[in-house]
């Protein structure tokens, strides 16, 4: 088991923040690193248990894929779908420059 200092580094936090589309101030990042480390250390408890040949459970109900006929049903109007858009243009969601 690792101690709080080594289980997750400031560089790891920086990398994960990029993946998650989040940005932290340097103070927030330091606090986040310390708190994530203590939680991840606690999660190491799970490494104690032998799960060889145990199947995974992603879902508790005995459900398989649920299908329906591919028919057009009622749906939101374009106006309703765009009603919450921060910015729109001619019936589209508008965003800042992409490239």
């Amino acid at each position: 088991m690792s101690d709080n200092k080594t289980i997750i580094s400031a560089e790891d936090v920086d990398y994960v923040a990029k993946l998650a589309h989040l940005q932290f101030t340097s103070q927030e990042a330091a606090d986040c690193t310390a708190k994530l480390a203590s939680i991840l250390n606690y999660m190491q408890e799970l490494q104690k248990i032998d799960v060889t040949d145990v199947p995974i459970t992603t879902h508790v109900l005995p459900l398989q894929n649920v299908f329906r006929e591919d028919e057009t049903g009622s749906c939101l109007s374009r106006e309703a779908a765009l009603a919450n858009a921060p910015e729109q243009w001619e019936g589209y969601f508008k965003v800042p420059r992409i490239i």
């Binding site: 589309h21 989040l22 999660m43 800042p96």
Partner: protein, 484 residues
């Protein structure tokens, strides 16, 4: 007083024309006006809408029509449940201006049954928390002691029902978010079987664990509401087609002959002795009523809490990826789209939400996926098997504490996420195994409520209502001023 009547009592009074929905709704709105500044249960109150729904209900009853048992009865909803045309914020700045274009199925069913919506309740941001302190908007106080938290994440809903600021409320429960606040605020809290109530239109946190729950003044009230909102929904492929039972009748069933287990792993040193004492009294009471009560073992219980946080955070990191400032919610100004995503999310989410997104993203990232996420899914199987075995052995339900402590002081755990997470140790196994659980308030200790948790077999809500009703005492009431 109108506002301390149960749902069942209010229904009888409305049917007997002793009372109108308008009078009931006005009584609740007056009480909200006086007490809400102290309690802080609501993010928004919609007086105009509520009065219009009440007037419509009264004119139906005048014509001899009644849409359901809930017709004309004032309720509140946790602000995670989408309400068409009414702001739904999830207590987050990122959804501050969001007006849903559709109703969640659970709310649609209540609305079509004549429910009168008073307002939307405060909660931990995105349902991530156990004290309602992570709300971006306000603090909610425990009606029994204003210096204490109401629990969370459905803390606003529990406080509203406890303080008679709503007749009943819907919340959501991903790891205990209906049950722990019910315990802290002295109300009944039901987390039904996964799939029992449609999740359509309920803003997701961890989709394989989330379930809509009910906060009510007594077991019968929760049963009436469940009868109305349970069932298969074509809009939620994980809703299940097991037909709902006659839950209201189930509250009157005798407990004689039922077999109840007390899992010893739930009674460790971390549990407050006052809570254990109440549990022992409940055991004696159930034996007296003719139930069999035996100690049982669920050997993988200690792994449930870390497993829960790995899974819930992993699912949350994926579910919350949708908040990017493009289609709805907060958008931060930026030069290009990539910076806009990052700035919107960084300004819009609070610290606890960011922490869980970070944990989940880490657990799902390349190199850690097998050690954290996949391994946890295997552990989940072992936890579920523990429960399968108990129910296969003929037990109808399990009796446990709800949380290690009673309501704690505002601010006590806010800087220590791990201690806050420990609040969920008795409730998360239920979500991992997809089971129903009912919290029933049993006593006041040093002025604060204690509730106990009954865990049932899948779709065994009826047994929970039978046993819960047997444990139920007179309603616990906070010492709040009467409002005329």
């Amino acid at each position: 007083m109108i506002t301390d009547m149960t749902l069942g009592e209010l229904e009888r009074a409305l049917d007997a024309k002793e009372l109108s929905s308008m009078e009931a709704t006005e009584a609740y709105l007056r009480r909200i006006k006086v007490l809400e500044p102290e309690i802080g249960a609501y993010i928004s109150v919609d007086e105009e809408n509520a009065l219009a729904q009440a007037a419509a209900s009264d004119s139906r009853r005048a014509k001899g029509e009644k849409l359901s048992s809930l017709d004309g009865i004032p309720l509140s909803l946790k602000d995670i449940i989408c309400t068409q045309g009414i702001a739904t914020t999830c207590a987050s700045r990122i959804l501050v201006n969001y007006i849903p274009p559709y109703d969640a199925t659970c709310w649609r069913k209540l609305k079509q049954g004549g429910g009168v919506l008073l307002g939307k309740c405060n909660m931990d941001e995105f349902a991530m928390g156990s004290s309602t302190e992570s709300s971006a908007f306000k603090l909610t106080r425990n009606p029994f002691d204003l210096s204490k938290v109401p629990g969370g994440s459905s803390g606003g809903s529990a406080a509203a029902v406890a303080a008679d600021l709503a007749c009943y409320s819907l919340g959501t429960d991903t790891g205990g978010s209906v049950r722990q606040p019910a315990h802290f605020c002295g109300v009944v809290g039901l987390k039904p079987t996964y799939g029992r109530i449609s999740r359509f239109g309920v803003i997701p946190y961890a989709s394989s664990l989330d379930q809509v729950g009910i906060l009510a003044k007594c077991c019968e009230d929760a049963a009436i509401v469940l009868e109305r909102i349970a069932g298969k929904d074509p809009m939620d492929s994980t809703s299940f087609d097991t037909p709902p039972d006659a839950y209201r009748q189930a509250c009157k069933r005798p407990v004689k002959g039922l077999k109840i287990g007390v899992p010893q792993e739930f009674l460790g040193d971390a549990i407050d002795p006052a809570i254990k004492e109440q549990l022992n009294q409940a055991v004696a009471q159930l034996k007296q009523a003719g139930a069999t009560v035996e100690d049982v073992s669920l050997p993988h219980t200690q792994y449930a809490l870390p497993a829960y946080y790995v899974l819930a955070c992993s699912e949350a990191s994926s579910n919350l990826a949708r908040y990017d400032g493009v289609r709805y919610g907060l958008r931060a100004e930026a030069e290009n789209v990539q910076d806009m995503f990052v700035a919107s999310r960084s300004q819009g989410f609070g610290m606890e939400v960011k922490r869980r997104i970070m944990l989940g993203t880490y657990a799902l990232s390349s190199g850690y996926y097998d050690a954290y996420y996949n391994k946890t899914l295997q552990v989940r199987t072992l936890i579920k098997r523990d429960y399968d075995q108990i129910f296969a052995d003929g037990f109808h339900c399990l009796l446990t504490p709800v949380a290690p402590t009673q309501a704690f002081a505002i601010g006590a755990n806010i800087d220590d996420p791990l201690t806050m997470y420990m609040q969920d140790v008795c409730t998360v196994p239920v979500n991992l195994a997809g089971l129903p659980a009912l919290v029933v308030p049993v006593a006041l200790h040093q002025g604060l409520p204690i509730g106990l948790q009954l865990i049932g077999a899948p779709f065994g809500e009826s047994e929970l209502f039978a046993i819960g009703s047997a444990l139920e005492t007179n309603r616990l009431k906070p010492n709040l001023p009467a409002v005329q």
